[in-house]
């Protein structure tokens, strides 16, 4: 086949083509366009676009403290990203990360505020319980999917609202700290908060735990029999079943693993950063996790993508505070790059499919 003849620019084109085709370049391109949009919006609003954009990066990357914030923001995103990614590989679209996260966080608070013991034991138990509770939050959609064939996108969304409202109901009633001004739980006692590591940096160990989990997941996906089976089930359940793979086990296992990680994200966040669960205490980490999983495309990719989205979140807040642009720009900076990436990526895919190089 003489496919090579269709390439237009022949000289040195392979590198340019590689750049052009790789997902990495698409993410850079969509980031650049988003920044241009941001600049335009600042201009319209009457702010100095350059100051806005530079403060975005300053806020996320300049100085030790900013980097620490960015890293801490990255941790829940890695975990919620995996919480979407792992079940998705097996054919289950878990949009319920937010509910699993919030209810997991509440469980961690419950354990740490009620249990006595050595910090190591209590922290471990709290994190395990947050994972278990995250799993509980996915059982209904999982059951409905397996037994009834119900579309899990919708059921997990419904579980999100159920869990979040349940959490708020509890923090404003039975779990409310009587001394708190708003509906909030008691704080995680100081000795049970996640310690910083290395201790001078202020980065809590949850961040490293999240990165470690992503690395392990990457290794498992590539090298383990289970990872192989997971992919097989995700691509073609019927064929996997015919080949003797225990589809039910793999599917349920992956969904449970995902929900556990989302629950863990909540545990880590509440024990490492916020220390309390309150009304409206959480950012939409669960939803951002969907973007993380899709932009990351694999567990290794999830780490840098979570980092980039953490930069956007941390930086955008700093940008808003320092330049006075509307806070709306924070959510704009979280939505638009993702939309752009998905569009550009599939546009290139479509061109490739249609054979127009």
């Amino acid at each position: 086949m003489d496919s090579k003849s269709t390439i237009r620019k022949s000289k040195g084109s392979s590198f340019i083509q590689w750049i052009f085709k790789s997902e990495f370049s698409i993410s850079i391109l969509s980031l650049l366009i988003s920044l241009a949009v941001l600049a335009l919006m600042s201009l319209i609003y009457g702010a100095d676009p350059w100051a806005v954009i530079s403060s975005l990066f300053q806020g996320a990357l300049r100085g030790k403290r900013s980097i620490v914030f960015t890293l801490m923001q990255m941790a829940p995103l890695i975990l919620t990203g995996l919480a979407v990614y792992i079940p998705y590989k097996a054919g289950f679209f878990n949009i319920g990360g937010q509910g699993q996260l919030e209810i997991g966080a509440l469980a961690a608070v419950f354990v740490t505020t009620n249990m006595k013991g050595s910090p190591f034991v209590v922290i471990t138990v709290a994190l395990l319980v947050s994972m278990a509770v995250g799993i509980v939050a996915v059982l209904i959609p999982l059951f409905l999917k397996v037994k009834r064939g119900a579309n899990e996108v919708t059921t997990t969304i419904m579980m999100n609202f159920t869990c979040v409202n349940l959490v708020y109901a509890l923090v404003t009633s039975v779990m409310k700290d009587p001394k708190a001004f708003y509906g909030a739980t008691r704080a995680v006692p100081a000795e049970y908060q996640l310690m910083a590591f290395p201790s001078a940096t202020g980065v809590h160990i949850g961040v490293w735990l999240a990165v470690l989990i992503a690395l392990i997941a990457a290794w498992l996906m590539k090298n383990s029999v289970t990872g192989f089976q997971l992919k097989a089930v995700g691509y073609n359940q019927q064929a996997a079943k015919t080949a003797g793979i225990n589809v039910g086990k793999i599917l349920k296992g992956s969904v449970i693993a995902g929900a556990a990680l989302a629950g863990l994200a909540g545990g880590i966040e509440v024990m490492g950063v916020t220390y309390r669960v309150a009304e409206g205490w959480a950012l939409p980490w669960g939803f951002t996790g969907v973007s993380v999983a899709f932009l990351g495309a694999n567990p290794l990719g999830i780490i840098p993508v979570a980092f980039i989205l953490a930069i956007l979140e941390t930086g955008a807040r700093y940008m808003q505070a320092m330049t006075g642009v509307p806070s709306a720009m924070i959510s704009i900076m979280q939505g638009i790059p993702v939309v752009l990436f998905v569009c550009l990526n599939s546009w290139f895919m479509l061109r490739k499919l249609k054979g127009k190089n």
């Binding site: 119900a150 609202f161 939803f287 709306a328 939505g335 993702v338 939309v339 569009c343």
Partner: protein, 290 residues
């Protein structure tokens, strides 16, 4: 509890249900042609804003509705282009679109300045004490049911959602049908937003929809992708909301957050009990012609 209490409860129920019905019809028709429409929340928010801005700067409620229709069409074209022409994952696009819409609407609202903060005039009731929005919602639901299940174009559209390849082979331009339907779905969702702001609370505030788009999604599911059943589901959810408002007046001990769980728990229950849970077979699947 006297008769007026009943009537007020009914009115409150209908008020709360109306925006849901528009959005549910939007989601429903999109899913009927095989596109999952998670962007409904963002579209509703967009409509909520444009209706208010249109009314304030255009001088009348009907100007607001008109602007909402126009913006709904434009946004519909954009959404349709992204989800129909490009092989994107509809769920991811929907979620990211919602985030972006949240930002863009509050940005535009802020840009619009102090005048945008004004309260717009009240709509006159059309029949009894029901506003034109409310009456239209029910007419639309019945119309859509008739359209989808009794007419030829309805059959053709449902075919696209059930089996896009078969529809294509039957000479239906799948892409075009999905494209146009998504525009209609967007307009309906935007109208849902308008029904919330112009038809109900008469102001816009940031993120005013607060997840109502997703409740509409639940209503579609609950109503088994049937316009009338889904609208009834929306009314049930509306009644739940109206009940939640009244929880204190009734001296309930339950925290109001429990009431807000109601639509979702109900839907999950129905799904679990009836087992009739599958929508159109091709929802969410891409279709690419070569």
């Amino acid at each position: 509890m006297d008769a007026s209490w009943g009537i007020d409860f009914l009115l409150a129920t209908i008020r709360a249900a109306t925006p849901l019905i528009y959005c549910a019809l939007g989601v429903l028709i999109a899913e009927r042609v095989g596109v999952s429409y998670l962007g409904v929340e963002g579209m509703m928010l967009t409509g909520a804003l444009t209706a208010i801005l249109g009314t304030i700067f255009g001088g009348s409620i009907w100007a607001g509705v008109l602007i909402t229709l126009i913006v709904g069409i434009i946004m519909g074209i954009i959404i349709a282009a992204i989800t129909v022409y490009l092989p994107t994952d509809q769920v991811v696009v929907g979620i990211a679109f919602n985030l972006a819409a949240l930002g863009v609407t509050s940005y535009v609202f802020r840009l619009a300045g102090n005048r945008a903060q004004e309260m717009i005039p009240m709509m006159k009731p059309l029949i009894f004490r029901f506003s034109p929005f409310e009456v239209m919602a029910f007419i639309l639901a019945v119309f859509m049911w008739w359209f989808l299940f009794k007419t030829a174009p309805g059959l053709k559209m449902r075919s696209v959602g059930e089996n896009a390849h078969a529809a294509d082979a039957a000479g239906i331009d799948v892409i075009k049908v999905r494209f146009i339907t998504l525009i209609i779905a967007s307009v309906l969702s935007a109208l849902g937003g308008a029904a919330l702001t112009v038809g109900w609370v008469r102001v816009f505030t940031d993120n005013i929809t607060l997840g109502r788009g997703f409740i509409a999604l639940a209503a579609v599911y609950f109503g088994k992708w049937n316009p009338i059943l889904s609208s009834i589901a929306a009314v049930i959810f509306g009644a739940g909301e109206a009940l939640a408002f009244r929880s204190q007046a009734l001296g309930s001990f339950l925290n109001s957050y429990y009431y807000f769980m109601l639509p979702y728990v109900l839907t999950l229950l129905v799904v679990g009990l009836t087992g009739q849970t599958k929508g159109p077979a091709d929802v969410g699947k891409l279709y690419i012609r070569r």
